[in-house]
């Protein structure tokens, strides 16, 4: 296990509120336009629905589409984009051995069934029995399969044929970091040659708006960038799908694949989030990475969530690095399990383009005037988890 393998990102797929694909996302970011969000559907709360996508291009069978709910469709779609980008879509020889790690939350409930039960239970004598009977008669039998977290991976196996292995991690932002970390570690150690890693999140739905509003502030008008949402902080739930194909350099070169970027290192940690702990953890992770960072060629793509005090602590630590910083959640909202992977895709685009987009809010600063080749991607989860990756252009 001592042989270390270089880990390349050879394909990416992305769907966000900004657009489909890294180029479309990047182009929109570079215009410096104000974020486009929805402040009506879940009024007074602001959310970031994804741009419309043509599912048929990645999920050709309508039967497959019907068996999934929105979060799975977006994920399977983004996974297809990544496999296509990597040049391995439909390549059964490779897909048969390709590993997969998906970061996933739970699927959506049937809101109308829930609403009916909540309404009518008040008239029923035996509420338990009433709930049982309604669920038995009203739930679509296959809805369960659209709710199980591992069925995003299952649907990717079905639709795209990735069948080497299939693992699903859970736990909001951290699960995305850990999915990529484990894939990176396995490839670097020679336990895996190629792995599809990603996540999808459908935050623009009532059951999740409810869950988050039970315990954390959600953003209301007027809109503010993630850095400037006041002492209580606020999230703006988003819908997104983000996948990457990572593989060993040897595996990529053998099949003639070009690297979009090198995944140089990855860190993931946790603490109890006492005041200052996020700051300390992130600082430790940065200290481990900074010796490899070329100061005038690197930028930070921040996954700051808008939750406080974590976001303010991250702002402070990032400012100390002296590197240009951009937070993307200002434009795409909070995508939990998918957030970090979305930022990895955007980080790849940053090192490909060698530029940055205009700043927005008090934590965004600096500019990439020299043609950058490295991106530090952070993930300071809204509740737990501090993650950091270094990706770099392969020259």
């Amino acid at each position: 296990m001592s042989t270390r393998h270089e880990v390349w990102i050879t394909g990416v797929g992305l769907v966000t509120a900004l657009g489909e694909g890294p180029e479309a996302n990047w182009t929109r970011l570079k215009t410096g336009e104000s974020p486009v969000f929805d402040d009506k559907t879940f009024s007074p709360y602001i959310t970031f629905p994804n741009v419309p996508i043509n599912l048929d291009t990645q999920i050709p069978k309508k039967g497959d589409q019907r068996q999934m709910e929105t979060w799975q469709r977006i994920g399977v779609y983004a996974a297809g984009l990544a496999l296509t980008d990597a040049g391995i879509a439909k390549n059964t020889d490779i897909l048969d051995k390709a590993d997969m790690i998906v970061a996933a939350g739970g699927g959506e409930r049937d809101i109308s069934v829930d609403s009916t039960i909540m309404t009518e239970v008040r008239k029923s004598g035996k509420s338990d029995a009433f709930v049982n009977e309604r669920l038995m008669s009203d739930l679509r039998p296959t809805l369960f399969l659209a709710q199980l977290p591992n069925l995003l991976a299952g649907n990717i196996s079905l639709v795209h044929g990735v069948v080497g292995s299939s693992r699903t991690f859970m736990g909001e932002e951290s699960s995305g970091v850990d999915a990529l970390r484990v894939a990176h570690s396995r490839i670097a150690a020679g336990q895996s040659d190629i792995c599809l890693v990603g996540g999808a999140y459908h935050g623009t739905r009532w059951d999740l708006v409810l869950l988050f509003r039970l315990g954390t502030p959600l953003l209301e008008a007027p809109f503010k960038p993630v850095w400037d949402r006041g002492p209580a902080g606020a999230l703006a739930l988003g819908t997104m799908g983000a996948f990457v194909v990572v593989e060993s350099r040897e595996h990529a070169e053998k099949r003639g694949a070009k690297p979009l970027a090198r995944l140089a290192s990855l860190h993931s940690s946790r603490n109890l989030r006492k005041p200052g702990e996020s700051e300390t953890t992130l600082r430790e992770e940065l200290a481990a990475v900074m010796p490899s960072v070329k100061k005038d060629k690197a930028v930070v793509i921040s996954g700051a969530s808008g939750a406080e005090p974590a976001t303010s602590e991250e702002k402070k630590v990032l400012a100390e690095t002296g590197l240009p910083v951009r937070a993307t959640a200002t434009y795409i909202g909070n995508g939990m399990e998918a957030q970090f992977l979305a930022n990895i895709v955007l980080g790849c685009q940053a090192v490909r383009e060698g530029t940055l987009f205009p700043p927005s809010g008090s934590g965004d600063h600096g500019d990439a005037t020299n043609g950058i080749s490295q991106a530090l991607v952070t993930s300071v989860g809204h509740w737990r988890g501090e993650g950091l990756a270094l990706i770099e252009r392969v020259d």
């Binding site: 296990m1 739970g106 609403s115 909540m118 309404t119 035996k126 338990d128 029995a129 709930v131 049982n132 009977e133 669920l135 038995m136 739930l139 039998p141 296959t142 369960f144 399969l145 709710q147 199980l148 591992n150 069925l151 991976a153 299952g154 649907n155 196996s157 079905l158 990735v162 069948v163 080497g164 299939s166 693992r167 699903t168 991690f169 859970m170 736990g171 951290s174 699960s175 970091v177 970390r181 570690s185 396995r186 150690a189 336990q191 059951d207 708006v209 409810l210 869950l211 988050f212 509003r213 039970l214 315990g215 993931s268 940690s269 946790r270 109890l272 989860g381 509740w383 737990r384 993650g387």
Partner: protein, 426 residues
């Protein structure tokens, strides 16, 4: 320090601590006694009203359930019980300071009806109760606990803090293979040399009326409500579905050299693991059995052994018509003629199907089978299925020479994982 390596040149991964809780009881010794006595943990559900349900039996862990507990709370409690037992046996680290990462197989959790009704009750909605009504009153402080309970990251974080594991805890689901996947992740981390010990737990305490409904609607559950203890009948001709159950198991995985150096008792070796995803159907296995076959072959190959080296198969054996037929096709293809010499039994005949926990529970039982040289039976085996000619160790435990075991786990979403376990090396 000696440097023992496996056939692939990797660090050897030992099991130095194990813990278990199932509907049969708490603690691995109590469970072992009952498993080898052929006892069933399946009962009529008493935790909630079953009016209107097609299935009214389950292997609920009622002896650890506390009134009003949410699925997340019970699952966490079961994980804590099993983890505490495993770490204590291992003697590794110190209390609240486990020297390695944490891999937790855990069920997906969500807001439950009791919580939804509590929020709806204060929503003030008169005519129709919509989610928007719930959201309006959601910020009230008394509901903050619901959020903490239902976020996926909370339980792994709480347990990581409790056990003092290192790094970001990974909670995972691969459906009914989850427990085996947790072990696999720990095994791989030790093989990479990232750590010298890892804690792997599979836990599931998520039996609710809605979970029964969900599996019922997929026609997955036994409806033999009249005979709870006889309902889980793996490999029998009259099997009619699985029985939902709860439980947890924990394993302390440790670099063999590290374990020997600190004088730890070696309870077993995780020799290899195989996996293979199935892309045939969301709930059904490929009819040609190829993914299941590849999965077992990958496991044997990873361990560097052949089918002839296997003495016992701890079956996935759910008692659904389809699974057991498919598992037979798989093992008969992989083991061929040698299969007639290999006993294969299903712990689920006694425990039920503990879903997320099953792979971990069955790994612990597999290790105990080697340690005790005794094979737990497949109970309720009264009507053999002529299409599945297996030595299922019918109804009574059996003493046998068991050096190596494979433990199968297959799940919805095309998940297949197979572990190879053996005893302490000579």
């Amino acid at each position: 320090m000696a440097t023992r390596r496996d056939k692939k040149g990797r660090p050897v991964v030992a099991i130095t601590g194990m813990g278990m809780v199932t509907p049969l009881g708490t603690g691995k010794q109590d469970n072992w006694k009952r498993l080898t006595a052929g006892e069933s943990g399946i009962r009529t559900i008493s935790r909630f009203a079953t009016d209107g349900l097609r299935t009214t039996i389950a292997g609920a862990v009622d002896h650890e359930f506390e009134e009003g507990m949410h699925s997340a709370a019970l699952s966490e409690k079961l994980a804590r019980i099993a983890g505490t037992e495993a770490i204590a046996e291992s003697g590794i680290g110190s209390k609240g300071d486990f020297p390695g990462p944490f891999f937790l197989a855990f069920p997906p959790i969500e807001i439950e009806w009791a919580q939804r009704f509590a929020i709806a009750a204060v929503s003030g909605a008169n005519d129709v109760v919509e989610y928007s009504d719930l959201v309006r009153v959601a910020p009230r402080p008394e509901f903050g606990g619901f959020y903490e309970q239902c976020k996926y990251g909370v339980v792994p974080d709480t347990l990581a803090e409790y056990f003092g594991t290192k790094g970001s805890p990974i909670s995972l689901t691969t459906a009914c293979a989850s427990g085996a996947t947790a072990i696999q992740l720990g095994l791989e981390a030790i093989q990479r040399g990232e750590c010298q010990a890892a804690l792997a737990i599979g836990a599931d305490g998520s039996i609710t009326a809605e979970s029964v409904v969900r599996f019922s609607l997929l026609s997955a559950l036994s409806t033999n409500n009249a005979s709870p203890q006889g309902a889980s009948r793996p490999f029998s001709k009259n099997r009619d579905g699985f029985v939902l159950a709860e439980g947890a198991a924990a394993l302390v995985l440790e670099d063999y050299d590290h374990a020997v150096a600190r004088g730890a008792k070696i309870l077993g070796i995780v020799e290899g693991v195989g996996e293979k995803a199935d892309n045939f159907h969301r709930t059904r296995s490929s009819p040609d059995g190829k993914p299941v076959i590849s999965c077992m072959r990958n496991a044997l190959s990873d361990a560097g052994v052949t089918p002839a080296d296997v003495d016992y198969i701890n079956a996935h054996g759910t008692s659904t018509p389809e699974n057991d037929k498919m598992e037979y096709l798989g093992v008969s293809t992989v083991f061929g003629e040698h299969l007639k010499n290999i006993p294969i039994s299903s712990n689920k005949s006694m425990v039920g199907h503990t879903l997320t926990a099953a792979g971990a529970i069955e790994a612990v039982v597999s290790a105990m089978t080697i340690l005790n040289q005794r094979i737990p039976p497949t109970i309720n085996y009264e009507v053999p299925d002529p299409g599945i000619p297996l030595d299922v160790v019918p109804n009574k435990a059996r003493d046998a020479k068991v050096r190596r075991v494979i433990s199968n786990s297959f799940g919805f979403g095309g998940q297949n994982t197979c572990l190879v376990l053996t005893g302490e090396p000579n």
